[in-house]
Structure formats: C-alpha cells, structure tokens
C-alpha cells in the first residue's frame, strides 16, 4: 500500500514538473503578444454573449491586421463564468496568475462585475468592465483599477427621464425585476423624474423575481392601480411574458410606457409581432444609425458573420478596441501606466468619439432613445436620437462625493 502511494506521489511530482516546464516554454514564445483576459457569462446568457464574442473577435482581427499594439499582437484569452461571481473569481485568478494577462476585461452581470472589480483592486490589476450597469462599480464601490464602458444605470435612467418628463402622465407605476439592477433602475428613475416633475405620484410597484415572472397577476395588479404611465425594467424572457400578457389584456393601451433596454436587439427581436407600439426605450437601432464609424463597423461585421450586430456586438467590439487604445497610449503593459493612460483617454467608437472620464472611470459611450413599433412583423425603434453619455452624468462636484476616497 505504502509503496503504491509513493509511486503515485512520484508520478504526480513528475507530472507537475512537466507542466511547469511546459509553462515556461510557452512564456518564452509569448514575448511578441499582449494577452488580455476576458470573462463573461457565456454559458448562462448566450443570447447576449454570443454576439458579444463575435464583436470582440472582430476587434481583435482588425487590431492585429493593422499591426497590433506597440508592435505586438493582441491575444484575448476568454473564460466563462457560468453566471456565478465565485466562478468569475476563479477565472480571474487563472487569467492573472497562470496566463499572466496584461489586463482583465468583460463581465455582464452587476454582481460579477463588482466581484471582479474588487479582485482587481486587491491584486492591483487593470480591469475594463464591459457591460455591468450598476452605478456602484464606478461610484460607491469604485476603485482605481476599474473602468467601465457601457452607460450606467444612472445614465440610461437620465436619458429616459428626459422623455418621460415631457409626458402628461401624472400617475406612474413600475414593474421591475427584484434584484439590484431593477431596484436601482427604479430608484434613480424615480428620483430624477420627481426632480423634474414634482406633480407626479407613484401609485403601484411590482417586483417579480428575475426570470420567474408570473405575468398574469403582475399585469392585472398594475392595471388595477390605474396608472397613466408605466415604467418597465423587465428584459429577456420575462419581458416576452409581460408583453404578451399585457397585449392580451389591453394593459398598455392608452398608457405611456417607458422601458429600460427594450430597444436592444437582444430583447426587442424575440418580441416579433407582439412588439408593443410606442414604448419609449433605450436601445440600439442598428439599421437606423447615420454615424460613419458605425457604417464601417456594420459593414465589417456583416461581411465577417453574415448576421446583423446586437448591442452585445458593439460592447464586445468596443471593449477590445478600448483596451487596445489604452495599451497603445500607455506604451506599456504596466498597470500604473495603463491607468494613467486610460484616465481621460479619448477614442473613436461605432457611436462616435468617447472618453473615459478621469473623475470616475466611466466612459461617455451613450445609447439611443426612440419608440418601438412594428415593421413587417418585427420590432424596430423609430424616431431615434443618440444621447451622448457625457450629457447624462451628475456634476463633477457630485461625482467626487460618490466615490470612496483613496
């Protein structure tokens, strides 16, 4: 028994040494490339992450075709987090400790974004958050190492409030998923709208669990409060159920609806002939954008994938483009130099020029606001205007009180 265990032990040692050796050989070969570690919820949220992956793959191809960054090729090492913060941290650790990546990027869910951001702060690694919307990631839990690309919850709420304040509606009701994103979306929207329209009142709120809406009773309860307008934050399959139930029961007839994210192709396209008329939404009307940079992106994307881009494609594409721009400006893979380079960096994007603000590390990437309608049995956004992110952030004085002191 003992001898056998010793044997196993010896072979284990041997195997480990072989692995270690192999590792150092790859390290030597890897001199001419810059590794970016990327994490996202590929298996848990494929509807968003598949287009997202296509987006960043296109960016990598373009960057390397143009000679890479600082004379090196960009390599993205991508990991799945399965939608769990703990697994995202395992992946982040692998990317940093084993793959020795220059920076971390990606993530979708807010809690995962926050977990990775805290990890980055602890390990002193640069982290470019792609998608998580929570305000905490740049404000209350912001840190030196974390930057965020997408317009935050606050920014999207502010864009929608611009339009909502113009509505005659006085009685408002909200329907939002019962988790941090839904809660803070409703919270910020309420606060901003009440500031512009002190005359309105909130008559009902519904908080179905994320992914588990029992749409009939929810719609019925909302209608019973007789609101003039409804704020919706549901998305994905929950949105489909809500819209179907509301359409059948006539809940959205003669009512204004303001809805977060509904104009994003990921959430709008599945609605098809159920698409409600005239909802005021944030989103990405990919075939109605007249920005030259977007034309270029659209052509390249369609040529490569023979498919149209979703918002995830833009996020993935711009995440890696931003990473490359930061690396190029820093001229180095040193974390402090990258942070210095990223603070205040300006770069082109498919939505026009964007800046990563020095004050809170938030990018000024904006979103489109428009109204939903149906065209040939498909949902589209019409009357779209691009809202530049920089116009929808609080004053610098206010922002500086939101971030913890370092």
């Amino acid at each position: 028994m003992k001898r056998r265990d010793l044997l196993i032990g010896a072979s284990l040692f041997g195997a480990s040494f072989a692995v270690a050796l192999a590792g150092s050989v790859t390290a030597a070969l890897a001199q001419a490339e810059i590794k970016i570690g990327e994490i996202n919820s590929y298996s848990a949220l494929p509807a968003f992450t598949e287009p997202y992956r296509k987006g960043w793959q296109l960016a990598v191809e373009e960057i390397n075709a143009a000679g890479g960054v600082n004379g090196k090729k960009i390599v993205v090492i991508s990991k799945d987090d399965g939608g769990k913060p703990a697994d995202a941290l395992t992946a982040a650790n692998e990317l940093v400790e084993k793959e020795k990546v220059a920076m971390l990027a990606g993530t979708f869910l807010s809690n995962i974004g926050l977990a990775v951001s805290d990890f980055a702060n602890q390990k002193k690694v640069f982290f470019l958050a792609a998608e998580p919307l929570t305000d905490a990631i740049t404000w209350s839990k912001g840190n030196r190492y974390t930057f965020r690309l997408r317009p935050s919850n606050y920014m999207q709420a502010a864009m929608l409030v611009d339009e909502a304040a113009k509505l005659p509606a006085k009685r408002w009701a909200s329907i939002a998923p019962n988790y941090e994103y839904g809660q803070s979306a409703v919270g910020v929207f309420k606060k901003l709208l009440m500031a512009k329209r002190p005359d309105i009142e909130w008559v009902d709120e519904q908080w179905p669990p994320l992914g588990k809406i029992d749409a009939g009773p929810v719609v019925q309860a909302t209608a019973a409060a007789k609101p003039d307008a409804i704020l919706n934050v549901m998305f994905g399959a929950d949105l489909v159920k809500l819209v179907r139930e509301g359409n059948t029961r006539g809940t959205f007839k003669d009512r204004a609806v303001v809805s977060f994210l509904t104009g994003e192709p990921e959430y709008l396209d599945p609605l098809k002939e159920e698409t409600p008329e005239g909802w005021i939404v944030t989103g990405y009307p990919w075939n109605d954008i007249k920005i030259p940079e977007h034309d270029k992106f659209l052509k390249a994307y369609q040529a490569k994938y023979n498919d149209y881009p979703r918002l995830g494609s833009i996020v993935g594409y711009q995440t890696i483009k931003a990473a490359a721009a930061i690396l190029a400006k820093a001229g180095s893979e040193d974390t402090d130099k990258m942070i210095a380079a990223a603070e205040g960096i300006t770069m082109p994007s498919p939505f026009g020029e964007i800046t990563f603000r020095k004050i809170d590390h938030q990018s000024t990437l904006g979103a489109f606001v428009g109204k939903t309608t149906q065209k040939d049995g498909k949902g589209v956004m019409v009357g779209n205007t691009y809202r530049n992110g920089k116009d929808y952030l609080p004053s610098d004085a206010e922002v500086s009180t939101l971030r913890p002191k370092e």
């Binding site: 265990d5 509807a47 703990a86 941290l89 400790e97 805290d118 009773p217 399959a237 159920e274």
Partner: protein, 633 residues
C-alpha cells in the same frame, strides 16, 4: 370586486400550468422513488420541440397536433432514458438517481442552445385562443380560461386512469408498497418504465402548452423544477389531488400576495412549504411513508476505522498534498484551496446523509451563513481574521440549531424539502435585506490578512482545516454518539426502544454538520474576498449533494473523493470549454453507470470482493465477522 375575481381566475390559470408538470413528477416519485431532477429538462424539451413543430405545421391542427406530438416525442426520450440509464441504478443507494438526472439536466441545458441557438424564441399564439374575454370590465385572456379548464380535466383523466384501469391500480399499489407488488409477480420493469414515460409526457405537455404565453429559452428548466418539487411536497408525495390543491394554493397566494407585498414572490412558495410541513409533516394529502423492508444504508459490510496501513496511506496523501506549493503555481494553489474548502462542505453534508440518513437539500444555507458570518464580523465589526474564522461558523451553527430543530421532526424527502425551504428563506433574506447584506451585489473586500495571504499560505490553511474537520467527523462516526446516530438511521423504532433519544441525536448531528459547513463557508469568504447570496443558493446545495453521491453515500468519507473529483473536473472544464455543462453532465452520467455506488463505494466493493477471495481458503474468524451483515433484520 370584479378585479379580485379576475385576479383569482388568473391565479387559477397559473395553477393549472404548475399542476400539469407537478402531477408528472408526483406519479414518478410515488412509484419509482426517483427524485427526478430532470423533470424541468423534459419540460423545457417539450417547449422547444413544440416550438419547432408549431412553426412548421400549419393551421389549428398543426398547432394542437404539434403540441401533442412534442409531448409524445419527449415521453419517448424519457422512456429511453429510463431503460438505458435509470434501470441500471434502481438498486443503488437512495437518491443516487438524483445524480443521474442531474447529469442529464446539465447536458440538456447546453444541448438546447446547440440545437436551437442562444436567442429567446417566441412561439405562436394558440389558434382560437388569441384574444381576451371581457368579465366585469376586465380582460381575461381566453387561453387562461382554456388552461383553467384543462387543469381539472387532466386531474379527472388521471383519476379515471388510476381508479378504472388495471395499470392505474398497479401504479397505486406500487405507490403504496412496491415490494409487495413485486412479490405478487407484477413485472416491475415495465411498470416503472411506463410510469416514467407518463410522468415525462405530462412534464413535456406542460412545457409545450406554455409556448403561447412564454418565451422558449435555455433556462426554462431551472425556473420550474424547484417550484414543482415544492408543489408536489406541499400536496403530499404521490397524491395527485394534493398536487392540484397545492398548485392552486401556491398560485392564488402569489396572485393576491403581490397586491400587498410586491416582493413576496421570491420566497412565497418556500414559506408556504415550511409552514405546511411544520404543521403537517407529510404534506396536505400525503400519508406516512411505508416502512422500507430493506435495511437502509450499507448492510453488507460494517464500517470500520482505518487500519494501520490505511492510516499511513492517508497520512502520505495529506503529506503529498501539503507539498503541493513546492511544485504548483499560484493558480493551482488557489484551486487547491477551493477544493479543500469543498471537501469540508461535502464532508459535512456526507456526515448528515450517510451517518444520520438525513439528506439535506439545503445544506448551502449553513455554508453561506458561515460566509456571511465572516463578512459581518470582518466588515461591520472589523475583527481580525483569526477571530472571524473562529466566530463566523457560529452563524452556521445558530442557523442549523434553529432550522434543524424543525427539520429533524420529519424524515426522507419531506426532511430534504424542509431544509430546502429554510435554505431558500435564508437566501431570500440575504438577497433582499440590501442595507445589511448588500443584496445580490454582496459584500466585498474580505481579503485574508498578511499571515494567511498568498496562495501557498491560504492553501495550507484550508488544507489544515479540511484535514482537521474530516478527521473530527470520522472520530465522531466511530464514537458512541456516532453509533447512536447510525442506530437512528437504521431503525428509528428500535433505537428509541433501547432508550436513544432519536430526535435529539439527529438534531445534534444536524448542528454538527451545519457548523462544519459554516467552517467551509468562512474560509470560502476569504478565498473569494467577497460573499454573495449565491453562496446560499440551491445550486450550491445541489453541488454538495452531487459530491456526496459521486463519492458514495454508503461510505464513511467518500465525499472527500467526490468533492475533489467534482470540483477539480468542473473548474477545469469551465476553464477549457464553453460547453462545460454538456461534458460535465456526460461525465456524471458515465460515472453513474460505471460506479453505481459512487466512486469510493465501488472501489471499496472491489477491494472487499478481492480480499474476500484471497481470504476465503484460510476462513479466519475475523473474515467471518466481517461478512456478517451489520444491520440485517
């Protein structure tokens, strides 16, 4: 008034949808005693296949025909699964079938994305039931009315089937006493297969009928499976009428609950289940389970403490593990620490399951409480790490003491489901009490102090604690307390008749297991630097069950191996591929087939049969003693 009536009708429609799926689960469990984790997967497959068929076939016949064909097709898949997979493991330890169906569920979740793509799919509305009917000035969807009628119709058909056909009589007989049915010469194989097929048919029908209301997507299964289990248990296992009443109860409470407390949906079903089970230990319509004739647990070989050689082998194994930092990199060490923590977690559940015979479906509650305990102490009270590690698990202990008291009053699946209810209640508190727990954004910044920072130090710390916890649990197994606990597991009646206070013993075991899980959770908080409601979630509880079953529930410490294999495999697969669920599920199914007693269970069986063969010629008294059935009746 009209509004309340319409709200009531809406609740009934939700109830019917729930009942269809729950009835299938109920009859499967009633007859075969399989905790069919894959029921949600069959529901989802029903929806996907019905989507494809109703898009292809045209007209009203196409739609309804498509739904029926989809349900039949999935039933055929179910029958194949039963014949190829489940038949092999009916004689395996209790709950082992859970492992097989869990593996299947993982596979299906990835397969539907591979086949149907990642996008949410919108099915057609039902021909003839597109619009709404006006009642009291409110619009009621006609499809809701259709569902309201369908629920009782299905209930009626099932009642006729069970009371007016020979098959139904056999099914009811088997539900009551399947050994007796077998003894009377009924071909159990085909009875089980047909029941499984019928149950799967109902699940798939339930899924297919959702396409006019829902979107079809790859997370449908998880959305329904737990809720359906809850409904079945509230109604009483094996009782179809009970499932119906429970579905109505749950759906109506939800429909009216959200009018008063809009956030209640997240925890409502679990609250209802906890209350029902505390008041009625066998659900609303259930009867006490018939006493099993077979001795539960391992009856062929008695457990024995390690021999000297085995002890040395363990020491060598631990020593080798302790030398890992000499060869492994930082990443491998962090993974090593994570595995060590899951060894603690799995071993704690294993103690409760294999020694106490109490399978908890909510063990993550105590793991998570330990993690939150550390988070509170470190972030709110600012205590040093060593104190946090020592005191954090006390929150797990406290939770186990409170919930355990109620849980041990029950047994079997009812016990399991009550622990699940408690875990979900704890989870929803962590999720909802944002000012204190941070809600789903969790508590961040719980990093180890200098003395334990660094992958190697933290690895040694985790390994040391894991070795200590597993050793202590083993010592308890072979202590008088351990024997008493095994007594309550093997025969509650006899152990009580010789003066063992069974409930007290079981409660103590529950507290020990909860505290040990809390120790794991405390370490986990420091490993990840953060705590999330996920640490209490159902997913983690299921992972623990899988580790225990994989290792072998009839062994003393099989969970240690189960945890190492499962955790290492899943971390590696998630890192290597986006289809980790498909491969992991496949591997689990293969392990189930190859090791029907779990990995360690099978290895021990092989070792003993090999030893018995080599011992046979000498026929020592010791050998005889060892082959004496421990708990033979």
């Amino acid at each position: 008034m009209g509004f309340y009536f319409v709200q009531f009708l809406t609740g009934l429609a939700s109830a019917s949808a729930l009942f269809l799926v729950a009835s299938g689960l109920s009859i499967i469990f009633g007859v075969t005693r399989i905790v069919n984790f894959a029921h949600g997967a069959f529901y989802m497959l029903g929806a996907y296949i019905a989507f494809t068929l109703t898009e292809r076939l045209s007209g009203a016949f196409g739609f309804w025909g498509g739904i029926l064909i989809a349900a039949l097709a999935v039933a055929v898949i179910g029958v194949i699964v039963e014949m190829l997979l489940l038949r092999r493991i009916y004689s395996s330890p209790e709950l082992f079938q859970l492992l097989a169906t869990f593996g299947l569920t993982l596979m299906v979740e990835d397969l539907v994305v591979l086949i149907w793509g990642p996008d949410d799919l919108l099915g057609r509305r039902a021909p003839g039931f597109r619009g709404a009917v006006e009642m009291f000035g409110q619009n009621v969807p006609s499809y809701d009315l259709f569902m309201i009628v369908l629920g009782p119709v299905v209930l009626g058909i099932l009642w006729l089937l069970f009371h007016r056909t020979r098959w139904g009589i056999l099914v009811r007989a088997a539900t009551q006493d399947r050994d007796m049915v077998a003894a009377l010469g009924v071909n159990q194989k085909w009875l089980f297969t047909s029941v499984f097929g019928a149950g799967v048919f109902l699940a798939a029908l339930g899924g297919a009928l959702q396409i006019p209301r829902d979107a079809v997507h790859h997370a449908l299964d998880l959305r329904i499976i737990v809720e359906v289990f809850v409904v079945v248990v509230i109604g009483g296992l094996g009782s179809i009428t009970g499932a119906f009443v429970a579905a109505v109860l749950v759906a109506e409470l939800n429909a009216f609950g959200i009018l008063i407390l809009p956030k209640v949906s997240i925890v409502l079903v679990f609250l209802v289940m906890a209350v029902v089970l505390i008041v009625r230990p066998y659900g609303l319509f259930g009867k006490p389970e018939a006493v099993a004739r077979k001795t539960p647990g391992l009856s062929v070989r008695p457990w024995a403490p390690f021999t000297r050689n085995e002890r040395i082998a363990c020491l060598v194994g631990v020593a080798l593990a302790a030398l890992l930092p000499l060869v492994a990199g930082n990443y491998a060490l962090t993974v090593g620490a994570e595995i060590a923590i899951f060894v603690i977690f799995a071993a704690s559940l294993h103690f409760l399951m294999s020694v106490g015979g109490l399978a908890s479906f909510g063990h993550a509650a105590y793991f998570g409480l330990g993690a939150y305990g550390v988070a509170f102490l470190a972030k709110l009270a600012g205590l040093p790490m060593i104190l946090c590690l020592a005191l954090g698990p006390l929150l797990g202990l406290a939770g186990a003491a409170i919930f355990g008291f109620f849980a041990v009053q029950l047994s079997g699946v009812y016990f399991a489901m009550l622990t699940l209810a408690f875990a979900q209640i704890v989870w929803s508190i962590a999720f909802q009490w944002v000012p204190v727990t941070g809600g789903d954004n969790g508590i961040l910044g719980i990093w180890p102090e200098q003395w334990a920072a660094g992958p190697a130090r933290f690895y040694w710390l985790s390994l040391g604690i894991a070795v200590a916890v597993v050793s202590i649990l083993r010592i308890i197994v072979f202590s008088p307390f351990g024997y008493a606990l095994r007594g309550t597991r093997d025969s509650l009646l006899r152990s009580e008749s010789i003066g063992i206070d069974a409930k007290r013993i079981q409660w103590t075991a529950f507290v020990i297991a909860g505290t040990a899980a809390g120790i794991g959770g405390s370490l986990f908080a420091y490993l990840k630097g953060s705590v999330f409601p996920d640490n209490i979630g159902i997913g983690l509880s299921v992972d623990a069950l899988v580790m225990v079953l994989l290792g072998g529930v009839e062994t003393v410490s099989g969970a240690v191996i189960g945890a190492i294999v499962f955790k290492a495999l899943s971390i590696w697969l998630v890192s290597q591929t986006d289809w980790s669920k498909l491969i992991l599920g496949g591997v689990i199914v293969l392990i189930v087939v190859a090791f029907p007693k779990g990995i360690v269970g099978m290895i021990e069986t092989w070792r003993h049969s090999w030893r018995a063969r080599s011992d046979a010629p000498s026929a020592k008294p010791a050998g005889l003693a060892a082959s004496q059935p421990e708990g033979a009746e």
